[in-house]
């Protein structure tokens, strides 16, 4: 009969809707005056068929974007919201920490607040009194027991609240981003404490945005999107899915904004890109003021012609460009959509990135092979062009500058009308971030034929967030004792 311990938490096809009245009837008067007017309500689906079972002793993460239903789920689990259908079973003493210090009253001393809070969280008053000493000691507030908590610093307050919370010693803890408060040191203390509670056998359900925390602590995680479970299992995997969801939504938003901008720009009286081939002067108008640029027609500052596109904006980080053009210094371009430079002998038509399987994608997982590609068409015959691709992160650090200049500079002549796709493949060691890719085709010597700055935007997802520019694979060894003698020392 008892083949194994029952799941501490079992959730079975839980649905939760919210009825939100369009016209809020807030007074009895309105109700009496219009007794038959039934307000139109919008139905908001908080949860749509969520099911999962948590194993005993598991540290279970519930993640999702804003409005994905994760907090609703937690509130249903906690019994704060009733569910519309489906059922939730809980086995063991459960405590909910949706907020630290629920019911704290600033005018009461720490003692009363701690006792009240503990009672609210489910202890009997006697238990609360018995644990009070230990609560105060953990919070290190012994000398301030009788101080009204309105005189507490926020740090002390959080310590007190957290201390009460962990002394409720529930077998099942529901935690909702309580760690958003407090400084880094305190957060660490919280996490240490969670680890300790977890190690003592408690089951923890943890709702958060923080993928780092999920991957560090959780045994399993559930990803919600629009109230539906999207992914469940390995935190690493769920974390990646989350970032993917998050950034693809962002990417769509950025794209839409960029498209709107482009549309606006198209209506502005700017030199037509298509006319460049026929009109060298116009073509040069979107070249920049560079004396080193060996263009057939002497270069001239084109700023007056292209005010909106920010020509002349000096990309100081862009080492590939000799910045003799004096006026460029100090100006920086703000937007993501880039400018375009070159003499127009070729045109970069598209740029994209491909994942391991060769599928086009906007998000790349860290640690897997990936490919950046650009497609272009020559308008004129060009001898030995150089294909180039640079990758910048969101802080505009250059992380990759790839070109055929070193490997095979002489690719021969390309005829007008010829189309070329060039690809840059590499193991993706980029840290999770948004990246901008600038493809370019230049002449031997560095003059741009076409360069489309920040033409492509991709997101790299990944579990590790070391704040380093790259997430390089590495091995780490820790040995106790004195360092082993190096070879050189041995020889001596």
């Amino acid at each position: 009969m008892h083949q194994s311990a029952p799941p501490p938490v079992a959730v079975d096809r839980v649905h939760k809707r919210f009825e939100i009245p369009r016209e809020q009837v807030n007074t009895l008067k309105e109700r009496v005056l219009h007794p038959f007017r039934r307000g139109v309500t919008d139905t908001l689906h908080g949860l749509r068929g969520v099911s999962f079972a948590v194993q005993p002793g598991e540290f279970f993460g519930i993640v999702g974007r804003n409005g994905s239903g994760k907090s609703t789920l937690l509130k249903c689990l906690a019994g704060i919201y009733g569910v519309d259908s489906g059922s939730i079973y809980v086995n063991g003493r459960m405590s909910t920490f949706i907020e630290l210090g629920v019911g704290f009253n600033p005018d009461l001393p720490a003692r009363d607040n701690a006792l009240l809070n503990a009672t609210m969280l489910g202890l009997s008053p006697r238990e609360a009194r018995r644990r009070f000493d230990s609560v105060i000691d953990f919070a290190e507030l012994r000398e301030f027991v009788d101080l009204k908590i309105k005189n507490y610093s926020s740090g002390m307050l959080v310590r007190l609240a957290f201390s009460v919370m962990i002394h409720v010693d529930a077998e099942i803890l529901l935690i909702d981003e309580v760690l958003a408060v407090g400084d880094a040191a305190f957060q660490q203390k919280c996490f240490d404490e969670f680890e300790r509670i977890h190690a003592s056998g408690a089951t923890i359900l943890f709702v958060t945005h923080d993928m780092g925390a999920v991957q560090r602590f959780c045994d399993r995680a559930l990803l919600l999107e629009h109230g539906r479970p999207v992914e469940m299992g390995d935190p690493e995997h769920v974390g990646n899915r989350y970032l993917e969801l998050n950034f693809s939504a962002q990417a769509r938003a950025v794209e839409q904004a960029a498209a709107a901008e482009e549309e606006a720009a198209a209506r502005a009286p700017l030199p037509d890109r298509g006319a460049n081939g026929a009109n060298p002067a116009a073509a040069h108008a979107f070249g920049t003021a560079q004396t080193s640029n060996p263009n057939p027609i002497p270069s001239q500052p084109a700023r007056g012609l292209e005010p909106a596109a920010g020509v002349g904006a000096g990309e100081s980080a862009d080492g590939s460009r000799p910045s003799t053009g004096a006026p460029a210094v100090g100006e920086r371009e703000g937007g993501a959509a880039g400018r375009r430079d070159g003499d127009g002998a070729a045109e970069i038509l598209a740029a994209w990135c491909e994942d391991e399987a060769g599928e086009r994608t906007e998000t790349l997982p860290n640690g897997r092979p990936c490919t950046f590609a650009a497609h272009l068409r020559f308008r004129e015959d060009v001898e030995n062009p150089v294909f180039e691709l640079t990758v910048q992160n969101s802080h505009r650090d250059h992380l990759l500058s790839a070109s055929n200049l070193a490997s095979e500079p002489r690719r021969g002549a390309f005829r007008a009308g010829e189309e070329v796709t060039f690809r840059v493949r590499f193991e993706n060691v980029l840290a999770p971030d948004r990246y901008h890719v600038t493809p370019a085709v230049t002449r031997q010597g560095g003059a741009w034929i076409d360069r489309r700055e920040r033409m492509l935007s991709v997101v790299v997802t990944g579990a590790r967030r070391s704040e380093a520019l790259l997430e390089l694979p590495y091995e780490l060894a820790i040995e106790r004792g004195a360092p082993r003698a190096t070879k050189a020392e041995l020889v001596r």
Partner: protein, 330 residues
């Protein structure tokens, strides 16, 4: 153990909607059943632990309701005393000041009804003190759920604790306020009587009636914010119509559709007025009419009793029905 009850969770937990999201499940579903209780294998109800039913008025554990009610009430009570240096004195001040004014006016007015009543000061103060309790608890209950929003939305607990704690706090205040009533009575020559034993019962009845009102008011206020001004008016009317400072037993009859109606009898239908009348009868002096005689006959006393019961039962039913959704509506 009882017969195995197959629960809805017998279906693989994680089999979401039809064609819906990918199967959430740590282990691949087909093989996962063995190592994962709650997936695949039929489960017995007992094994799944208790079902979370969402918030309710009473909660699963009645002791928790008591603990919480008491903890909340005690906190409120303490707060009233922490707030000021004079604490207890301030608490007494309000009814006493009101008493002072009314006593002065009544005892020097042409009404002069007051003077003829036995132990009038004590009787008047008892009325004021009981009304203070009534208005404090019912008026406080109105916005109690809204004021305790942070609790209601953040933790699961028996929702009834919120309005009940208001009543309990008011009861604590009432206990303090009854001390000067006793002093007034004894000072005026009143002596302890066996009938005093009935007073706690009357107070309990009043507390229940008020709690019933509190349940109705608190839960209505969540949806309708004009409950507060309405209730304030009702309280004011109650103050004048309950015989607190003018004996309603002696009122002139009024004529409605040619019928002579004893206004005093009508006003006695109000449970508060009836309880006050009876409290004076048993506590101050037997010359005060009992509630039964004030309303005009033994059986008629069932009217205020019925109204009070209706408030308690109706209040609980309404509160119980609304309690699960209060957290969402706040």
């Amino acid at each position: 153990m009882s017969a195995p009850l197959t629960t809805p969770a017998a279906q693989p937990v994680g089999a979401g909607e039809q064609g819906g999201p990918p199967q959430p499940g740590g282990a691949p579903e087909p093989g996962g059943a063995a190592e994962r209780p709650g997936a695949g294998a039929p489960l017995e109800l007992a094994e799944l632990g208790h079902r979370i039913k969402g918030p309710s008025a009473l909660g699963a554990d009645p002791r928790r309701l008591l603990h919480l009610t008491w903890a909340l009430a005690k906190t409120e009570f303490k707060l009233a005393f922490f707030g000021s240096v004079l604490g207890y004195l301030w608490q007494l001040m309000r009814p006493l000041l009101l008493f002072g004014v009314i006593y002065l006016v009544i005892s020097h007015s042409k009404l002069a009804a007051g003077n003829s009543q036995p132990y009038f000061p004590a009787a008047l103060l008892l009325g004021i003190v009981l009304f203070t309790f009534f208005s404090e608890s019912s008026g406080g209950a109105v916005s109690s759920l809204v004021n305790r929003e942070n609790l209601v939305r953040k933790i699961e607990f028996p929702r009834l604790a919120v309005p009940l704690s208001i009543v309990v706090t008011a009861l604590l205040n009432l206990a303090l306020n009854l001390v000067p009533v006793l002093i007034f009575l004894l000072a005026a020559g009143g002596a302890p009587q066996w009938s005093w034993l009935e007073l706690p019962l009357l107070l309990a009845a009043l507390a229940c009636f008020t709690a019933g009102l509190g349940m109705i008011l608190s839960v209505s206020y969540v949806s309708y914010r004009d409950v507060r001004p309405i209730w304030e008016v009702v309280l004011q009317m109650t103050f004048y119509a309950s015989g607190i400072f003018i004996a309603i037993a002696g009122l002139q009859p009024i004529t409605v559709f040619g019928q002579s109606i004893d206004l005093g009898h009508v006003l006695m239908a109000n449970p508060f007025a009836a309880i006050l009348e009876q409290a004076r009868h048993v506590f101050i002096d037997h010359r005060y009419p009992s509630a039964a005689s004030a309303i005009g006959g033994g059986a008629l006393v069932l009217i205020p009793i019925g109204i009070a019961l209706a408030a308690v039962v109706g209040g609980f039913v309404l509160f119980d029905r609304r309690a699960p959704r209060v957290a969402e509506q706040l």
